[in-house]
């Protein structure tokens, strides 16, 4: 019965190939658009989530300032108020998993005949934990290096590329601002940050070395900012509260006075970016869905024409014993076949389009089985939904009127 119906539906569709093709084209474009837009939307979400995980999770940044000097409010970080000891104290809070003080600067680095200007961070080994960063070769410098302010460095991939080319940088000596530093570790690749900076263009050295030997500081032991990681996302509000309280106490700030530091929740900023991407992909999907809807209306249109054209045939079928549901199923089957064949072609088109977008426009795309399945289900539903009304119209024709129809 069902096989017979499939054969008959196929035959009916074959009777007017161009029309069937055009009807299908509506579905092909609709489904293709949905698949492509889902791929691009999910690609964007994937990029953002990659950036987020490369930045590190549950992250705070504590900036020094702002202070008021003679009525002039200075910008954040203008007055160094945070110290390595502050970072040490913060790391002892139970809500924190890792805390790293940072003294940033820019310096010219030299190896052999190569030289390169890069960002140098004076920090502690905890920085790697906070930033979710790993060592590709060698090993990280140790807390003992921080205590004794040794001249050791971990270098980023971009720096290694520019100074060493294909040479192994570990255990080589580079010169930062004329002084020799031993490269103990090569950092793993991290890629671009959310704002497009190359995170691999970085050298990490002990914070004490940066303070005393490389950049010097205005006041003994001060740092520009502290990066801190909370134990979990749930702990972040508590962590923020505790850090504020502890630092105010350590900095002897009176009740009601402004803090001389600012605690910022970086994860919240990143979540906003993720949110924006999600909204964008929903929007893309919605626009694509409209074309799918238009494709569905195309099916309905053609099915209505087909029912009118085949009124007499319906009459014959009813006269020889077709039940209403046989007629209903026959026309519904045609709509579903058009949808499913159109959908298959649409998936191929969408996947091809996504591959092309990835290849030619360098857009990150993510195609999952789930999104293809989703497109398939939607297309089948569109076929059933828009095929149902014409099919029901056919099934409800009065047999004598259908037979009399010319």
């Amino acid at each position: 019965m069902t096989v017979q119906m499939l054969i008959e539906a196929w035959r009916a569709m074959g009777a007017n190939r161009l029309r069937t093709f055009l009807t299908m084209l509506g579905m092909v474009i609709g489904v293709g658009a949905v698949v492509l837009m889902l791929a691009i939307g999910q690609g964007a979400q994937y990029s953002v989530s990659q950036s987020i995980s490369s930045m590190g999770s549950n992250l705070f940044i504590i900036l020094s300032g702002s202070s008021t000097s003679g009525g002039l409010r200075m910008g954040l970080g203008a007055t160094p108020t945070l110290t390595v000891a502050d970072a040490q104290a913060l790391s002892e809070l139970p809500e924190m998993s890792a805390v790293a003080p940072v003294v940033p600067g820019v310096a010219q680095v030299v190896y052999g005949s190569n030289n390169w200007s890069t960002q140098v961070f004076g920090t502690t080994p905890a920085y790697l934990t906070v930033r979710n960063w790993t060592i590709a070769q060698g090993y990280p410098f140790a807390d003992s290096d921080v205590r004794s302010a040794t001249r050791v460095a971990m270098i980023g991939q971009t720096v290694a590329q520019n100074l060493f080319g294909n040479e192994d940088p570990v255990n080589k000596t580079i010169r930062i601002k004329q002084s020799p530093y031993l490269v103990v570790g090569l950092l793993s690749a991290k890629g671009q940050s959310l704002d497009g900076r190359d995170q691999d263009d970085t050298i990490l050295i002990p914070v004490t070395t940066a303070q005393r030997k490389l950049f010097g500081t205005q006041f003994q032991g001060t740092v520009r900012f502290i990066m801190a990681q909370a134990v979990s996302a749930q702990m972040m509000p508590a962590a923020e509260r505790e850090m504020n309280a502890l630092l105010r106490q350590r900095h002897h700030i009176r009740e009601g006075a402004d803090s001389d530091f600012t605690v910022r929740n970086l994860t919240a900023l990143v979540n906003t970016a993720a949110q924006a991407t999600r909204v964008m992909s929903i929007l893309l999907g919605a626009i694509a869905s409209i074309s799918l809807l238009v494709g569905g209306i195309g099916i309905m249109n053609i099915m209505l024409v087909s029912v009118t054209e085949r009124t007499r045939e319906i009459g014959i079928r009813v006269a020889i014993g077709a039940r209403q549901r046989d007629i209903l199923m026959q026309f519904l089957m045609e709509a579903i076949i058009i949808s499913i064949v159109g959908c298959t072609a649409g998936v191929v088109l969408g996947v091809g389009g996504a591959a092309a977008a990835n290849h030619f426009a360098d857009i990150t795309v993510v195609i999952t089985g789930a999104s293809i399945l989703q497109a398939f289900m939607v297309a089948a539903c569109v076929g059933i939904f828009f095929g149902f009304y014409p099919a029901r119209k056919a099934a409800r024709l009065k047999p004598i009127e259908a037979l009399r129809y010319q």
Partner: protein, 233 residues
């Protein structure tokens, strides 16, 4: 023996803007199994409406119609479809074959709705084509054979489900005299050898003479019911 068709006080009215128009005004008729009945009457006499009601394609406004022991008025649309499929075979003036299906598929179509398996369908369709002398055209399309042959295919389709009753509405209306004679001879053969009840509508007296019993309609009423040979035609 119970009649295959029993009709009592059958009325049919069509609703129009000007009020109900009566088409059939109280028909009483009984047809026994194995009869060969011709229905005649001028256009508008109600004979086509009557045939549609006989074929369960239309329902009477009032009155009783018992087909093969079942009161048609009490059946729902699925049961009517089943009746059309199992008990009745239709033959139309315009043949009404499906143009895109070959003869084999056309003939086996009632079996599709009768839920017969594919292999059984093909075998029975070919038997029927054999019976009407068209077995070698099983794979041809309807437009590749002549009108008379198409009507034979339509008869084969009407017969494929082994019906008790064949309803033929002007079956020779589109055929020339010689072919008409062949088709009528086929009906007669089915009636006499297979015992199938045949009811046909025609307006040609020559065609009516193939039947045994003649029923005449005029203005929605029966005006004659008797032997064909005794009717003044």
């Amino acid at each position: 023996m119970d009649p295959i068709i029993r009709i009592e006080g059958l009325h049919k009215e069509y609703e129009t803007d000007a009020g109900p128009v009566p088409v059939l005004k109280g028909i009483d008729l009984s047809i026994d199994p194995g009869e060969f009945v011709a229905i005649m009457g001028p256009s508008g006499s109600g004979k086509s409406t009557f045939m549609n009601i006989l074929g369960c394609l239309d329902v009477p406004t009032r009155g009783k119609y018992i087909l093969n022991g079942r009161d048609v008025g009490t059946l729902n649309s699925d049961q009517l479809a089943h009746l059309r499929n199992e008990v009745i075979g239709f033959v139309f003036q315009g043949f009404n074959l499906l143009p895109r299906a070959n003869l084999e598929d056309n003939v086996s179509l009632p079996l599709v709705y009768g839920d017969v398996q594919k292999s059984g369908r093909i075998a029975r369709a070919n038997d029927m084509l054999e019976k009407v002398g068209l077995a070698k055209y099983a794979r041809s399309l309807p437009n590749q054979i002549s009108g008379g042959q198409q009507q034979r295919v339509a008869i084969a389709r009407a017969l494929v489900n082994r019906p008790k009753l064949i309803l033929a509405d002007e079956p020779t209306g589109n055929l020339d005299t010689r072919t008409s004679g062949e088709i009528m001879a086929l009906f007669r053969q089915l009636n006499e050898s297979d015992g199938i009840t045949v009811v046909l509508v025609t307006h040609e007296p020559d065609i009516a003479t193939y039947a045994k019993r003649l029923v005449k309609f005029l203005d929605g009423s029966l005006i004659y019911d008797g032997e064909v040979s005794e009717a003044r035609t």
